[in-house]
Structures are given as structure tokens and as C-alpha cells.
Symmetry: C2
Subunit: 247 residues, 2 copies
């Protein structure tokens, strides 16, 4: 298989209700596009949610790291490229490049996925699934950003709380992966987004939360412009971690 | 101009993070698609935001009413048709039909728009704009749902409050029209959506709200399954009204 066939390419546009007050695509919407493209790319190769649901298997997103030089502006077209970088027994690394309307790369992303059996909630061995066919799609396209890193919240200050509502819940009954991103962005005052932009955004999904869960947000500034966050549900149980680097 | 040229047709798909726990497209996301299609249709005919911004004119959404027999299911393709039903001096009526993947009409929507000069905030006379060219697009395609109706909240019970955050704010610095819909849907318990579906949803946009505004939600059940809502900002100032009919 040629390297170029291994890369999926998908066009999108920065819709007016998907940009922030600066007119730039929001990180949550970009995350949504990335996960959609992962789904398209996997489905076209026989590894999508729709193919897997027949076996009661599903993909579970573990990590997401996005690093952008600039965000598409309102009404601008952009392209997302995605490919599989590595396949291990229990995890696979999927990377992304984001290209602006002129075809210049304006950012990259990395994601780590596991596959589980929805009946047993146990992980599936990716190297034996379909006779290891997924490894045929491994591609060494460049992705010059750091791998997802360690996130450590330094103090116990709860900066916000919310109760999971209807719009937060996805088709699996779980708190929607993208909604966590939006709620995290909402922790910062408008002033932050007036004077800075997000250079790097990371999510580590640890446990599911559900409708009615009370989520507490903990945040610490580890160094200038770098924030580490944790979301916990009742009983102090960790749901996810996040890191944001502004510049 | 033939009638069929007056109708814009746009395909969409119910993306996985845009469906609710029932796997059905959410009303907020459908509203977003409708407003996007309005924008595409107007832009293609020289009346879009992008064309108007040169004059410092902009479209302002006044009313939106959506009535659905069923919502597209996760991963299903659907089509939105949109056309101009009427043009008056200060308002225009734009209608929509929503077609499922087999091309059957599964819902309709009506919207009412005004155009304003962003410098003076005064309305523009649509019948004289571009020599009244917009009236050439008037089309009498069927839209068999009621026009936006009177909304009257019967009591003063505040059922929820929230402070407008980063993700709520659009490129104009206003609270995003779609976000109001999502926050209104979040007033209802999951139980409501387990046993009922939204048959009709209406919004009446009255005044803008901004980052940091504290919004109060007032709701009354006017009769079985019919809820009337108001959102007010500080000083009891009305921001918008909404009506939801479940079945």
C-alpha cells in the first residue's frame, strides 16, 4: 500500500457558530472534527465504530494532544489529514495534521485509542483483531509535536463545579468527550483569550462520568502560561486531566 | 427564475458528538445546520453576511420555529432545503424542510430575519436594498407548520441561572443563538427525553446578552407537554423567549 493511501484527507469549514469571539475556530470544535475524521478514516478501512459495533467492540479515546500555530478563521476552509502512527497490543497512536486553505500545515494532533468489548469492558488485542490487518495502515508521516505528557495538578483548589446535563451526554450515556474541552475552556476569563491564544491543549480521559454527576474542576498554573487541570466526580474520583499552554 | 432554482439544498450528516443519548441529532445542532444553510443560500445569491459586511449590514435572527416528526439518527445523512417565503420592508420569512436519507420530509422550520446597519443598529429596508433584488427569490414551496406563535410565561419561578462564559460567546461578542437552545434543553431532566421527544421548538430573540451576564431562566407549563420559557439578564431585562412542545 502506498503511503499516500494510508492518509485520510477531509475538508471542513469554520462555521459561524463554531468560532469564538475572536472569529477563530474553538478548540472543542476542532477536537470534534479530529474525532470525526478518525471515525471516517477507520470506517473506510473496516475499523470504524459501525464495523465494530457488530462485534460489540468500540474505540475508546484515551489521550488527545493538539498543537496549533493558528486556528482557522470564520468561513475559512481547512483540511484534516489523519493516519495511524503505531499499533500496539492494547493501544494505537493516531496522528493528525491540520492544513489551512492554502494547504500550509497550521497544526498537528496526536491521539491514543484503545478498543474494548462493550459486554465485558475488557480491552481487545489490536494485533490479533482481523488478523492484525490494522498494522497494514501504519504510516510514518511527520507529526512534529510532543507526545501526550504527564499532567500533575499541584494543589487542591476547586475552581468550578457543574452538574452533568442533557447536552453533555453522548449516545453511550457518557459525558461527551468534546464537552469536557468546552467546560475546561470556560474556566478562563475572556481577558485570557483577548491577550493570548492556546498553543497546546491536552486531554487524558481516565474514567466516564454520567448524567447528574457533579463534576469538580481543579486547576494549577505550573509555570507561566501553563495550566494543569483535573476533573473529578463525587468521592474524589478522577474523570480526566488536561493541560493548556497559552502563548 | 424557476421555482427549483430558488430552493437551496444542503446535505449533512448526524455526527457522533452531535447526537444525544438516544442517538438522535440534538435540536441545537439542527438549529446550527439551519442557520448555516440560510447563510449558504443567502451568500450564493449575494445577500450573505460576507456580502453585507462590506456595507456594515448584518442579518439578525428574530424568530425560529422547528417542528420535527423524527430526528436523524447517528451517522444518518439528511438534507436541508431552504427558501425565502416572503420579504417585507423590515423582515423576511425564510423556511426550511428537513429530508431524511430516503428523501422523505421529516420536519420543517420557519425563521424571521431583519437586517441592520451595524454602525447605527437601525434596520435596513429590504425592499429597496440592491433595488429589491431579494424579492426575486420569493418561492411558495410548502411549509405546513404553524408560524412562530405568542409565548407567554405564566409565573415568575426562576428555574436556573448561569453566567455567560467563553464558549457561549460568538464572533460579534454576543451570546451565541444556538447556545441559548442548548441551555434551555438542559433545564429538563433526562427522564423527559427518555419518555418524550420534542415535537416543536420555538425561539424568539429579543435582546443580546454578553460575556459575564447572569442569565435567569423562567419556565411555566402552559398545558400538558407545552412549556413556555423566558431568559432574562440583570435588571429583569428580557433576552429571549422559547416554547417547547413534547409528545
Amino acid at each position: 500500500m502506498s503511503e499516500s493511501n494510508k492518509v485520510g484527507r477531509y475538508k471542513a469549514i469554520a462555521e459561524p457558530f463554531h468560532v469564538d469571539f475572536n472569529g477563530r475556530l474553538t478548540m472543542g470544535v476542532l477536537g470534534n472534527h479530529l474525532l470525526n475524521c478518525a471515525s471516517f478514516h477507520a470506517t473506510e478501512r473496516g475499523f470504524g465504530m459501525m464495523n465494530l459495533n457488530q462485534n460489540n467492540y468500540t474505540w475508546v479515546l484515551s489521550r488527545l494532544a493538539i498543537e496549533m500555530e493558528e486556528m482557522p478563521y470564520q468561513y475559512e476552509e481547512f483540511t484534516i489529514e489523519t493516519w495511524v502512527e503505531n499499533v500496539y497490543r492494547l493501544f494505537t497512536d493516531r496522528n493528525y495534521a491540520i492544513l489551512n486553505k492554502e494547504g500550509r500545515k497550521i497544526g498537528y494532533a496526536r491521539s491514543i485509542w484503545a478498543m474494548i468489548d462493550m459486554n465485558t469492558r475488557k480491552p481487545i488485542d489490536l494485533l490479533t483483531l482481523h488478523g492484525g490487518k490494522i498494522t497494514e495502515y501504519i504510516c510514518d508521516a511527520p507529526c512534529p509535536i510532543d507526545k501526550p505528557s504527564r499532567i500533575k495538578v499541584g494543589n487542591d483548589e476547586c475552581v468550578a463545579k457543574l452538574t452533568a446535563k442533557y447536552s453533555d451526554i453522548d449516545v453511550n450515556g457518557h459525558f461527551n468527550s468534546i464537552r469536557y474541552i468546552e467546560h475546561i475552556l470556560d474556566l478562563f476569563p475572556l481577558e485570557t483569550y483577548k491577550t493570548k491564544r492556546i498553543k497546546r491543549f491536552e486531554m487524558a480521559y481516565v474514567a466516564e462520568s454520567y448524567f447528574g454527576n457533579e463534576l469538580s474542576f481543579f486547576m494549577s498554573e505550573s509555570c507561566d502560561n501553563e495550566y494543569h487541570l483535573e476533573i473529578k466526580k463525587e468521592n474524589n474520583e478522577l474523570v480526566c486531566r488536561s493541560k493548556i499552554i497559552f502563548e
